[in-house]
Amino acid sequence: MFPIEMNKMGKILKTIVIIGIVFAIPCILLVPFLLSNNYSVLYSMIIVYPNGGLMVAIAFQFLKMFDSLEKNNPFTKENVKILQKTGRLSFGMSLLWLMDLFIMIALIHNTYINYILVLLFLFILFFGVGIALWTLSLLLQQATEYKEENDLTI
């Protein structure tokens, strides 16, 4: 019963991520036009854009992982590497949000306090996500080793 559920889960998650990517790309392309009059915010888009790129990279990494879920074989070394990579990407994102935060503080005379708070939240969020993904990768590595040992016990 469990493998069927895991199989379905893989398909559902894959579909959600694909839909997310399909909606995210036009949004990323449209945002500069929507903010064309607001140069101060547009300035921070220099950092928001690479962040979007990193987010798409994370989404593609997760797609790879959901593939293995579909094949009912999630405990692999490849998945450990994927989680480590997504963790690093998430740390990269938090660093970019922090840079954006400093740019906002230095250049915008603290007038956009709400925006600064959002950036601070995003920095903390992605840093936390990075730690969570890194911890998960270590757990998966341990689980993969246990599974390998169990499979090779005759």
Binding site: E148, E149, L152, T153, I154
Partner: protein, 68 residues
């Protein structure tokens, strides 16, 4: 390191892999893993069965060699 001398014992007893796997109750694939030394561990129950079928002691199948 632990050396598996199952091949030698099988040859002495003139028993094929198929027959041994059948009598011990493990798959051919698992017996092959055991013979080639790729296995990580062996259950006491499996070892007992192998010894019973080959009429030997665990020491006849398993050996220890110092790693260089």
């Amino acid at each position: 390191m632990i050396i598996v001398n199952l091949d030698v014992m099988m040859a002495k007893r003139k028993i094929s892999s198929n027959e041994l796997a059948d009598k011990v109750g493990i798959t051919q694939a698992n017996l092959s893993i055991l013979k080639t030394g790729k296995g990580k561990a062996i259950r006491f129950s499996t070892l007992e069965k192998i010894c019973e079928v080959l009429d030997c002691k665990p020491g006849d199948i398993l050996d220890y060699q110092k790693e260089k």
